[in-house]
């Protein structure tokens, strides 16, 4: 490990002053951070006060069964000032895609960070991992299985941030039939707080927003039922969609090139999963606030929800059932017809038998019987 040339700043305030950031610059940084953490702008002074004292946390980033899309999302974020500052302030001690070191040196960096910051470091995980019942050889780093590395690394961590739908819910690797026996981080880690930042990939500002929250207030954000930060996942895409008025008026695009599509009407009938998807895309948008899927005319896939790969066709309306209803209908129809004919035959037989068994009786005969 390289020896630091100058002493590492202890707090964020020190770090910023060392970087020549003025107080107006700092105020701007806090305003942008409040916006990023989805806090009201009035929180900026509180953020400023907290950031002055913030410590520089060590972060270990583990990549398991993933596509590096989450790291791409984070490093392609379009507001370098704010997010780079956050990333400069955290000490990213291990990230095998981004770090210069490789092989033993890389693993050594991870062990050193774990040792030096025992009990205080953050573990960020992207990607799912083969579960305990699966072949550990399906995914390894430096000959260590993902499961073992996760358990080892998390043992001394303060908290775990599961970045991306794979780490949060299993994602694509877990899609049926789940050949690698993939599980989510929260399926393994039960004794540490796990924050899920889902999305395929997550909005970059949401990743840094969660880190900023931890950095600023030293606390974990308020979480929803899936352990996702409420600030970003508290509202559905549908509730924050600028096309919502068209849904409410009943104006829908029915194909990708009809009048409705050109006029920017609601994409529900084209398969939009916005009503059941909780994410920040509609307000934070993508590519530095340029646009987001619905704005570009494509329905929401619901990528921040569990099992979105198996939740029916991306282009089927949300209400449409999953599975082969047509064949079920045909089979049930054929069965119903056959059984119905059988039941009626039985009825006819009964009627015929009753007719055949009918005997004429005279009044005298009846009287004799009585």
């Amino acid at each position: 490990m390289a020896v630091p040339i100058r002493p590492q700043p202890r707090t964020l305030g020190d770090s910023l002053r060392q970087n020549g950031v003025s107080r107006r610059g700092f105020l701007k940084f806090c305003a942008a951070t409040a916006s990023m953490m989805a806090l009201p702008p009035s929180m900026a002074p509180a953020i400023a006060a907290a950031l002055e004292q913030a410590r520089r946390p060590s972060v270990i980033w583990l990549s398991f069964q993933e596509c590096t899309g989450c790291t791409e999302s984070l490093t392609r974020s379009f507001s370098p000032t704010v997010e780079n500052l956050i990333l400069d302030i955290i000490s990213l001690d291990y990230h095998h895609t981004l770090q210069a070191a490789a092989g033993d040196a890389a693993e050594h960096a991870r062990e050193q960070a774990m040792h030096e910051n025992a009990g205080n470091y953050l573990v960020v995980v992207d990607g799912s991992l083969p579960g305990p019942g699966s072949n550990p050889g399906f995914s390894t780093i430096a000959g260590v299985s993902n499961l073992q590395m996760l358990q080892e690394t998390v043992a001394g961590a303060a908290a775990v941030v599961a970045v991306g739908t794979c780490a949060a819910f299993g994602g694509l690797p877990k899609a049926a039939p789940n050949p690698s026996g993939a599980v989510a981080v929260s399926d393994i880690i039960k004794d540490k707080p796990v924050i899920n930042v889902s999305g395929c990939p997550p909005v970059p500002m949401v990743i840094t927003g969660v880190l900023a929250q931890y950095l600023t207030f030293g606390t974990l954000p308020e979480l929803d039922a899936y352990n996702r930060p409420m600030a970003f996942f508290g509202q559905s895409i549908h509730d924050r969609c600028y096309r919502r008025p068209f849904y409410d008026k009943g104006l829908f695009a029915e194909t990708f090139d009809d009048e409705g599509a050109r006029k920017g009407w609601c994409l529900y009938r084209l398969g939009c999963k916005g009503p059941m998807t909780y994410n920040a895309c509609a307000t934070m948008k993508w590519n530095g606030g340029t646009s987001w899927p619905v704005e570009s005319g494509h329905p929401c896939l619901g990528c921040s929800e569990p099992d979105f790969w198996d939740a029916g066709g991306f282009y089927n309306a949300m209400s449409v059932p999953v599975g082969d209803s047509g064949n079920v209908l045909l089979a049930a129809g054929a069965g119903g017809l056959a059984l119905g004919v059988g039941a009626s035959l039985l009825g006819r037989h009964k009627r015929a038998a009753a007719k055949a068994g009918h005997e004429t009786v005279t009044a005298d005969e009846l009287e004799q019987k009585l």
Binding site: D248, K249, P275, D307, M318, S319, V328, A332, R351
Partner: protein, 220 residues
Amino acid sequence: MMSSMDFLLFTKGPLFQVAIAIFVLGILIRLVEIFALGRSRNFAEPRGGQVIPGLKTVYKRFNPDPGTFRRAPFDVVVGTVWHIGFIVALLLFIPHVEVIKATVGLAWPGLPNPVVDAVTAITLLGLIAALIHRLTHPVKRFLSTPEDYVIWAVTFLPVLTGYIAYHRLVNPYPLALGVHILTAEIFLIVLPFTKLTHIFTAVVARWFNGANFGRKGVQS
């Protein structure tokens, strides 16, 4: 533990298949049995056609005769209102049209959501009024069987849960939607084996009545 998304996918997937299988199987057994049983041969010479008078009666019986209306205006008005409301919400809400299109391949234009929303609210009120009337009216109460109350609940719940899901009154949404789909599936499963079969048999019975009139030369 089952999450709300697991629940939604279960109701949208396997449970839906089971529900439509039981529904189609059940309703076909009942209808085919009725049709295939046949009627005993009528040797009397027909005095008129059967098809037109049959259809006429199917239509005419939608209008209550003045006597019925005078005796039970509440039942006629409220009954008609919520039946129409239920059918409109069931068949003309866009997400429902999408379900039918994906399941049987038939599609038709829907109504704007606010219209269906208003109709649903009226249907809910109508169903509640109908239940209160049933509970407070001594004759109705005496005539009601447990099955009547079960059927009321099975009909009421999909409308109520649909209203809740549309207005997002329960969070998370997948749970609200899953419960709505589940109640609709219960409706489908229960339908062929209870009085709810009247949805299909009422029309058949009316047509047969009218056809009989026509054959006898009576005005239908």
